[in-house]
């Protein structure tokens, strides 16, 4: 069953067509990778799904319901969470608070409730705290709870972004270059984490990644973008041997080796 579908979506910036007529269907509970050279339109594609840009053409459906052109916060409420290529944490806030911000849409405390600190609100806050902590434990950041997000090592920051995204209870999780800046050991851990997330929480995962080892290991489907267009799709083995992909992305010279 399809969880998220993009139907021929297009985005222009000035004269440049960043994404052109791309249609992709993401199956529920699958792990899908979107790859392609830098500047191919992958992040723009993510930005359209998460509402940061609204597409100039085409439709996006989540769970058969359209989300085309909705504001990012509504899309988040509907169940799409993401991480960012150039990490966007709430730098001055503590690690735990970062995750608690992710719970925003699931907290119901209103103005007066907060002001008078009703038992309901207190219980909710406490619950949120524990859940945030359990998520941090889940991604392996339990020791960093009170640190400022900006003081975390690079790899840990990426994991924190994932924990924060999970806190929104998403149906779909978009990871934008989650392994960038990680060493092989961290990358392996991340790979396990991603698989575990999918298995434990039944979340549909879509990732943009340059680390082919990771991509090939965990993705069930791979889509290749180049110059805003979809040039290939298939299972890892197909992609690995697709001449178009090799030419556009891996380099023509790769053929000669």
């Amino acid at each position: 069953m399809s969880m998220l579908t993009a139907t021929s979506i297009t985005k222009h910036f000035g004269g440049l067509t960043a994404v052109k007529d791309v249609s992709i269907n993401f199956e529920k509970g699958s792990i899908t990778a979107v790859i392609g050279p830098n500047g191919a339109g992958k992040t723009t594609f993510f930005n359209m799904i998460t509402g940061i840009y609204s597409p100039d053409g085409g439709e996006i459906h989540l769970d058969q319901k359209t989300i085309t052109g909705l504001k990012p916060n509504f899309i988040a409420e509907k169940g799409i969470a993401r991480t960012f290529q150039n990490i966007r944490l709430f730098k001055e806030m503590s690690v735990l608070e970062n995750v608690m911000v992710g719970m925003h849409i699931h907290l119901n405390s209103g103005f007066l409730g907060t002001l008078f600190s009703t038992p309901k609100v207190r219980a909710e806050e406490e619950q949120a705290r524990y859940e945030a902590y359990s998520l941090l434990e889940y991604v392996g950041l339990a020791d960093w709870v009170n640190h400022q997000a900006k003081n975390l090592p690079y790899g840990a920051q990426r994991k924190l972004e994932i924990a924060r995204a999970l806190a929104t209870h998403p149906k779909v999780l978009l990871l934008d270059e989650p392994a960038a800046g990680m060493n092989p050991k961290e990358t392996t851990e991340l790979t396990d984490l991603i698989l575990q997330i999918r298995d434990d929480k039944q979340i549909t995962i879509i990732l943009i990644e340059h680390d082919m080892k990771l991509v090939m290991r965990i993705s069930e489907q791979i889509y290749v973008l180049d110059h805003g267009q979809l040039i290939a799709q298939g299972v890892p083995e197909e992609i690995r041997n697709n001449p178009n992909v090799i030419e556009a992305y891996l380099g023509k010279s790769a053929l000669s080796v």
Binding site: N38, G39, Y154, M182, N183, M212, K213, H227, L250, K252
Partner: protein, 234 residues
């Protein structure tokens, strides 16, 4: 003697260490490439060389320590950096962009001569002289960016991901020009994600992983390396 030598360079972004003891050297007339995944520290290394990020350790250029110099004096020494994402001045015309490359040059005639030389490599740039930089296509911008670097008449050219976001045809062109430049004696330090293409034209290569040099060898050797194949080719 190496033209450029880095000895145990460390860099921090805030409290996060981006470079761990990077040491490398580039000899006169070489093309050396620095490959690695996104966020590994390739660009940071280039920024360290041209004084854009603070570092500890030594950077020697023609035998002189330059690590404490501000960027503009490093440029004066003859190090031209063509930054990632081209970074041409979008509001300036193509001609003004080129003139900025030759900012240190006072002699008008010399500027014209250098410009002519740039046009030899990039005839397309000449056609667009009075156009605003920001209105050009990606490939043209990359050519302008390299051309602007050449206006400095540098001793070494640092290229940061020149193929990024460009059509394969254009990438081929750019790499051809890089090779051509090298044949005229230009020393080049090339940072690339497109590892294979970079190694094709390079003499030597360094593989950088989470801020440290993981591997270094002749380009041919790296091309044949199984690990590299796996990490960067799939």
């Amino acid at each position: 003697m190496s033209l450029l030598q880095l000895q145990s360079i460390r860099s921090f972004y805030g409290q996060i260490q981006a470079l761990h003891d990077i040491s490398l050297h580039v000899g006169q007339g070489e093309i050396v490439t620095l490959i690695g995944s996104n966020g590994a520290g390739k660009s940071t290394t280039l920024k360290a060389i041209c004084g854009q990020v603070k570092t500890t350790g030594k950077i020697l250029f023609e035998g002189n320590e330059i690590q404490s110099h501000p960027p503009h004096t490093i440029a004066e020494l003859g190090i031209a950096h063509v930054p990632e994402g081209r970074r041409i001045f979008p509001g300036l015309t193509v001609k003004e962009n080129l003139e900025m490359g030759a900012f240190q040059v006072k002699d008008k005639k010399q500027i014209t001569e250098r410009m002519e030389r740039v046009f030899q490599y990039f005839p397309r740039v000449k056609e667009r002289l009075s156009q605003k930089g920001g209105t050009m296509s990606g490939g043209e911008q990359q050519m302008l960016a390299i051309g602007r670097g050449l206006m400095m008449n540098p001793k070494i050219l640092l290229l940061d991901e020149p193929s990024m976001g460009l059509a394969p045809v254009v990438v081929e062109q750019i790499f051809e020009i890089i090779q051509k430049l090298n044949q005229t004696g230009m020393t080049i330090l090339l940072v690339e994600q497109n590892a294979y293409q970079a190694l094709q034209i390079a003499d030597r290569g360094y593989v950088i992983q989470t801020g440290s040099i993981a591997l270094q060898d002749h380009a041919d050797a790296l091309l044949g390396n199984e690990q590299i194949r796996e990490a960067y080719l799939a």
